[in-house]
């Protein structure tokens, strides 16, 4: 029996690709050595959001009296890490069952085993060899092991901790690190950031980075550039000051997780090199998601996998670069889509920024989350929106409106003309879109 497609890895690239392949009538087998859903579902996107929500709820309860909810004794409020993890596991299990259901419904087979690619048409797993017409590698990435902290805890291991550290040292760079730092700070711990470099979140617009750095500085989270730090046994020295820590967590840049394989695929910086169709240097072997190094986001991985299925089905892919939101689940959330101001400037485009503050938004005020802003950057000829950045509660959801607008090549006029309900946080689009300058 020959499969049309064998997918190695069941994260956002693997499982989404498998469902689509099943829907398209491709005989599909997914092989994963661990849990269905991969990093995203089991340790990444979903669990981190779940524990962040627990932390945000903790903060909300701490400030419940401001909303007129009294009777809660501050000294009795506590953060129960084990309960937060239990809740997380339930969510993960539910989503995992959902994926299995969708696979079954679409005729996708699943095998829990370690896979080895023998040839472009053969995959070995569970001591068997499976014949296939196409292979999709969707094995993802993990934080690159560090020479300076070889024993650092990885994100996957965080959830198995019975007790959380009081003074975690978070080393690395990127959105995960910022989220994690804020998580510890919100539940009353004292995290320390040891940054590989600045900006901390290089893909983000400077306005978002600036906002977050100020926010963390106000929350007294030390930010120490690794280059200026002296690392001792259980403390970091920086500018004549010692910062003791009780655990190191690796939240650094990521490296590809490569499956075992006989064919020599071309690599770039350790990631599988792919073309526009996400095909590797060997015909019939595709790579989607983190493992190809084009992006480290679940939705990017899924989009790539869908393109792989299209490609297998003979659909020509458009040349254009796809646009996707970048979301950071901090409090308040950060979100952006399209070009950053720096990118627009670098292209020499005449542009204008329409910035509107959340503190003028009625709904945000009632929700007690009036911190933040929206920035809509448009070119000045047709007012086409080129980039949107947001800081607000639920910014990660609100950004979708900008996504649709930009997908349809919309301008600020469409935003201003679209009647938004009042009171809503989303009104801010209409308000900003209608601004003169």
């Amino acid at each position: 029996m020959t499969y049309d497609l064998i997918i190695i890895g069941s994260g956002p690239a693997g499982y989404v690709g498998a469902i689509k392949a099943g829907q398209r009538g491709l005989k599909t087998l997914v092989i994963d050595k661990k849990y269905i859903g991969g990093m995203c579902l089991n340790w990444g996107c979903i669990p981190t959001k779940s524990i962040l929500e627990s932390a945000k709820t903790y903060q909300k309860v701490l400030h419940a009296a401001d909303f007129g909810v009294t009777g809660i004794k501050a000294e009795e409020i506590a953060f129960d890490w084990q309960q937060a993890v239990t809740r997380t596991r339930k969510i993960v299990a539910k989503l995992s069952r959902g994926i299995e259901f969708l696979w079954k419904k679409n005729g996708v087979e699943f095998l829990r085993a370690e896979a080895k690619i023998i040839s472009p048409t053969q995959v070995e797993a569970d001591k068997r060899v499976f014949e296939t017409k196409n292979i999709l590698i969707a094995t993802g990435s993990r934080p690159a092991p560090r020479d300076d902290f070889p024993d650092a805890l990885s994100l996957e291991d965080l959830y198995s901790l019975p007790v959380l550290p009081e003074k975690p040292l978070l080393v690395g760079r990127g959105a995960n690190l910022v989220e994690l730092a804020q998580f510890f700070q919100m539940i009353g711990k004292a995290p320390i950031i040891l940054a590989d470099d600045l900006p901390l979140m290089p893909a983000l617009d400077a306005s978002l980075e600036d906002f977050m750095l100020k926010k963390m500085s106000k929350a007294k989270i030390p930010l120490i550039p690794v280059i200026d730090a002296q690392i001792k046994d259980k403390s970091v020295s920086y500018k004549d000051k010692d910062y003791p820590f009780d655990m190191v967590i690796n939240a650094g840049f990521r490296s590809a997780v490569l499956p075992q394989m006989e064919p020599q695929l071309k690599l770039e910086d350790g990631f599988i090199a792919t073309d526009r169709r996400h095909m590797s240097s060997t015909d019939g072997i595709y790579a989607a998601g983190d493992v190809n190094g084009k992006g480290y986001l679940a939705h990017v991985a899924s989009a790539q996998a869908l393109e792989v299925i299209d490609s297998i089905m003979g659909v020509d892919l458009p040349d254009e670069e796809r646009r996707y939101p970048l979301n950071i689940y901090t409090d308040p959330e950060l979100a952006q889509i399209g070009m950053t101001e720096a990118q627009i400037k670098a292209q020499g485009i005449d542009y204008q920024v329409k910035q509107y503050s959340m503190s003028a938004n009625g709904k945000a005020l009632t929700e007690g989350s009036s911190e933040g802003f929206i920035r809509i950057i448009h070119e000045t000829k047709y007012n086409q929106v080129l980039g949107v950045q947001m800081v607000s509660a639920n910014a990660t959801d609100l950004i979708s409106e900008a996504g649709i607008l930009m997908e349809l090549e919309g301008s600020t006029y469409e935003l201003a003309r679209t009647i938004h309900a009042h009171p809503t946080v989303s009104e801010i689009y209409m308000d900003a879109g209608g601004m003169d300058g």
Partner: protein, 424 residues
């Protein structure tokens, strides 16, 4: 609710018109049917009526500006119609106000059809196109992104001509950027030599070409020719003119011929009809509107005498003169040109004996009158000098057969031979 009214395709193949006069100002209240603007095309000067009641919220173009068909003329805020109501109206009366006139463009109705944006044209936002599913002749509105639309307008590109590469053929910014407009007309005929020259077709010539071809391609032309002795008619006309000499009007033969034809059409209604092939039926017209072919410096126009059967000889004479004056001064309005049911051409006034005129499709027939000449005729067994009017008629054989046509011609000629019968 904002409604964008675009310069309608006035159905003669024109693609632009010039603003002569604005009748409305921004902020002015108007009623449906009120004239918005006076537009001049190659052929006519006409008032464009508003399809909606409301308040003018924007006006596009100044006096003297050329406006392309399909470009916005005005924006109307429709009173008291909220978005939802407007939708409802649209659903209830989908066919309303789609087409102002049902007459097809053609020889007889050079400017025939004025297409208005349908009731489907309520626009909640954006410059998205006006279209109506009940408007088969309207050009399909291109699907396009807002920026592509703005860009096309800015660059003077007709977005409907741009091939869209986005989802479902959506025209994107990139498509506008890569769109090459068709080469300008002048370069088309770059075959100038010392012994020939080229001249781009005028709008009116293009229209005539299109209409003639359409007629020949869509009908089964058949011709009948006949002669009629009109000495009595000549005498009647000259006596009438004598009697009317203080009325500052001089009767030509045309009013008599019109009356003769109008009467004969009543007896032979199939010649005052239209073939609806699509629905396999014949549409009989209860009104007799005769198109009169007129030569002008710019080319042929065919203004229409409406309800010709109800008009006296002098009424007809006055109307013919008035239409001729307007045609010469290019002041014919759409109303003057539309709804013809049968056409008459008096080619003989310039010269020519017999002819095979082209039917003003979708009319059924055209009646041609040649030059009256003195000829020997046999009367009471003797050869005498007669006054002979030759006539030539083209009919669409799809709808009517030769026998019926001959009967019709016999009837017309009997009136011309003995015009006293017109008094009956």
């Amino acid at each position: 609710m904002r409604y964008i009214f675009k310069f309608p395709d006035i159905g003669e193949g024109l693609d632009e018109g010039k603003i002569i006069e604005w009748y409305v100002e921004k902020g002015q209240s108007i009623q449906s049917g009120d004239a918005l603007v006076k537009m001049e095309t190659d052929k006519v000067v006409t008032d464009i009526p508003s399809p909606k009641s409301g308040v003018i919220s924007a006006r596009y173009g100044s006096i003297g500006d050329s406006i392309k068909v399909g470009s916005a003329l005005v924006e109307i805020d429709i009173e008291g119609v909220e978005a939802k109501d407007a939708q409802d109206i649209n659903q209830e009366e989908p066919a309303k106000a789609v087409t102002e006139s049902v007459d097809e463009e053609g020889f007889g109705g050079v400017v025939g059809t004025i297409e208005l944006a349908g009731d489907g044209a309520y626009l909640p936002a954006g410059d998205e196109g006006i279209s109506s599913p009940n408007e088969p002749k309207a050009r399909k509105k291109a699907l396009a992104t807002p920026v592509a639309r703005a860009m096309a307008k800015d660059l003077g590109i007709d977005i409907n001509q741009v091939v869209g590469t986005g989802p479902a053929g959506r025209v994107t910014k990139k498509d506008i950027e890569s769109h090459r407009p068709p080469a300008p007309q002048r370069s088309v005929g770059s075959i100038e030599t010392p012994r020939q020259r080229t001249e781009p077709l005028s709008q009116i010539r293009k229209t005539i070409a299109k209409n003639m071809l359409r007629s020949k391609q869509n009908t089964a032309h058949m011709a009948i020719m006949e002669e009629v002795e009109v000495s009595t008619l000549i005498e009647a006309r000259s006596r009438l003119n004598e009697a009317l000499k203080h009325d500052q009007i001089k009767l030509s033969y045309l009013p008599f011929i019109i009356q003769a034809i109008a009467r004969a059409l009543k007896k032979h209604p199939v010649l005052n009809a239209e073939l609806d092939m699509e629905n396999e039926r014949i549409i009989y017209k209860d009104y007799i509107n005769l198109g009169i072919a007129m030569d002008t410096d710019d080319g042929l126009v065919v203004p229409v005498i409406h309800d010709a059967d109800k008009k006296s000889l002098t009424d007809l004479a006055h109307e013919i003169k008035s239409l001729a004056d307007k045609a010469r001064e290019r002041k014919l309005t759409l109303d003057d040109l539309k709804d013809g049911t049968f056409s008459i051409t008096s080619y003989g006034s310039i010269g020519g004996y017999f002819a095979v005129p082209v039917i003003a499709y979708p009319q059924v027939a055209i009646f041609g009158i040649g030059r009256i000449a003195q000829k020997p005729v046999v009367k009471d067994g003797e050869i005498v000098i007669g006054n002979i009017m030759p006539i030539s008629m083209s009919v669409d054989h799809r709808i009517v057969d030769g026998a019926e046509v001959s009967r019709f011609v016999n009837d017309v000629l009997s009136y011309l031979k003995d015009p006293i019968l017109l008094l009956a």
